[in-house]
């Protein structure tokens, strides 16, 4: 099938690029948007992350080893929720995987 301007296909490409940095299964964190987390396009981003990364389970929490961060999800001037994490993979459009630093 041809891939056109389908938003699901576009987002899938982004998250597929991140999948190599993630474990093959188990839970993976997803950083909540600071504002308007329930906006339709943001809900879609989260759902497509889950759709792409199955059989991993993408959960909206940050107390996990890996956390996925959308480009506009983190606060601009440093996000306290990402303290103790470091970026390990970045997609073309700026979606990132953060991994918890080893103590």
């Amino acid at each position: 099938m041809r891939r056109g301007a389908d938003p699901v296909a576009a987002l899938e490409t982004e998250f597929r690029a991140l999948s190599r940095a993630l474990p093959l299964s188990g839970p993976v964190g997803f950083l909540r948007y600071d504002t308007d987390d329930d906006r339709a396009d943001r809900v879609m981003t989260y759902y497509v992350a889950q759709y792409t990364l199955a059989p991993r389970v993408v959960e909206k929490r940050t107390d996990l080893e890996f956390v996925i961060v959308a480009p506009d999800a983190a606060r601009a001037a440093g996000d306290a929720r990402l303290v103790g994490f470091e970026p390990v993979a970045t997609s073309k459009e700026g979606y990132r995987v953060y991994q918890r630093r080893t103590q």
Binding site: M1, D6, A9, S25, M44, Y47, Q50, A54, P55
Partner: protein, 334 residues
């Protein structure tokens, strides 16, 4: 096109039962049987796939496809054998030719071909519309990728048992049945990868089967009108490429009604003289009038004792009851 092979294999195995049981078929009955075989094929193959996955056989493994192919080959062979055995037991002298089981309705009106031709044109346009929609949104509608195809990905990718993880995702409706996800995972197993063609093809097959069953079940010219109305409805045309479970569910409901009330799929028992409820042409030698008959049978007042002998009473009364329902349904415009 391994995806198409995956869908045709169980349909052919089930088609053996339908075709061999009916014997000689009209084109209309053959189309109805094919549509029913496709529906049942996808339905039963999803059960087999679910059983294999639950047994720990991953769809991504070669063993899954081999066992699936072997299962349907055995089903086809058993179907052939049982129908052959049934035919050999059939008394040849008494067995009527099933010519009347699916009579072609006589041409009515001045231009009987006009409605069927119009339906054909609408069907081609509808198919083009569905294909275009599927290409524009290859992952389907929101519910398709958030629920159905997502569950299919868990089943296909989670061969190590991690497919169960989808049960913990509350927003993805983990309690929804696995008919569609297991079918999609099975098609991907045959394709060897997660092609977007797989779920799109399943959606189209269900859509085509749904319309085919309606067109082959109704009688006269109204079947073309009903089919054209279905294809002309934007709801149907948006639901088919959405890859959701609405059209498959609708298709099974239509199939149930077609098998219950339709004449095209009715298989007369050997020696039975009771015509099908919707039959317009009485079967040879029948004295009991067809409830939907438009031409009065001269011998309709005299029941044939032979028919009572060959048909159990319950079957006769069921047949009459269904016939009355069918007749009542026929009073409605469409």
């Amino acid at each position: 096109m391994r995806e198409a092979i995956a869908l045709l294999l169980p349909a052919c195995a089930i088609g053996v039962v339908l075709y061999r049981s009916a014997g000689v078929m009209s084109a209309r009955a053959a189309a109805a049987s094919l549509a029913l075989a496709l529906c049942l094929g996808i339905g039963f193959s999803s059960v087999v796939s679910t059983a294999l996955i639950f047994s720990g056989i991953a769809p991504a493994s070669r063993a899954f496809v081999l066992i699936d192919v072997a299962t349907w080959a055995i089903v086809a062979a058993l179907s052939w054998w049982t129908t052959s055995a049934a035919k050999s037991r059939e008394p040849k002298a008494k067995s009527p030719k099933p010519k009347a089981q699916s009579p072609e309705p006589e041409a009515q009106g001045r231009a009987p071909w006009l409605l069927s031709a119009t339906f054909g044109v609408i069907a081609i346009v509808a198919l083009a519309s569905v294909v275009a929609s599927s290409m524009a949104a290859p992952h389907g509608d929101w519910d398709a990728w958030a629920i159905w195809n997502q569950h299919a990905r868990f089943l296909f990718r989670g061969g190590d048992g991690s497919w169960r993880e989808f049960l913990s995702i509350a927003w993805s409706q983990p309690d929804y049945p696995l008919l569609l996800p297991a079918s999609v995972a099975r098609v991907w197993a045959y394709a060897g990868h997660e092609s977007t063609l797989g779920p799109a093809l399943i959606a189209m097959v269900f859509g085509i089967a749904c319309v085919t069953l309606v067109v082959t079940t109704l009688d006269g010219q109204r079947r073309w009108i009903a089919g054209a109305l279905m294809l002309g409805a934007t709801t149907f045309l948006t639901q088919v490429p959405s890859q959701c479970a609405d059209v498959p569910l609708a298709c099974f409901i239509v199939a149930t009604l077609a098998v219950t009330f339709g004449d095209g799929l009715r298989i007369p028992p050997p020696g039975s003289r009771i015509p099908g409820p919707g039959s317009r042409i009485p079967s040879p030698g029948s004295r009991i009038p067809s409830p939907g008959s438009r031409t009065p049978d001269p011998g309709s007042r005299t029941p044939d004792p032979g028919s009572r002998m060959t048909s159990p009473p319950c079957e006769k009364w069921c047949s009459v009851g269904i016939a009355r329902c069918s007749k009542a349904a026929g009073r409605f415009p469409i």
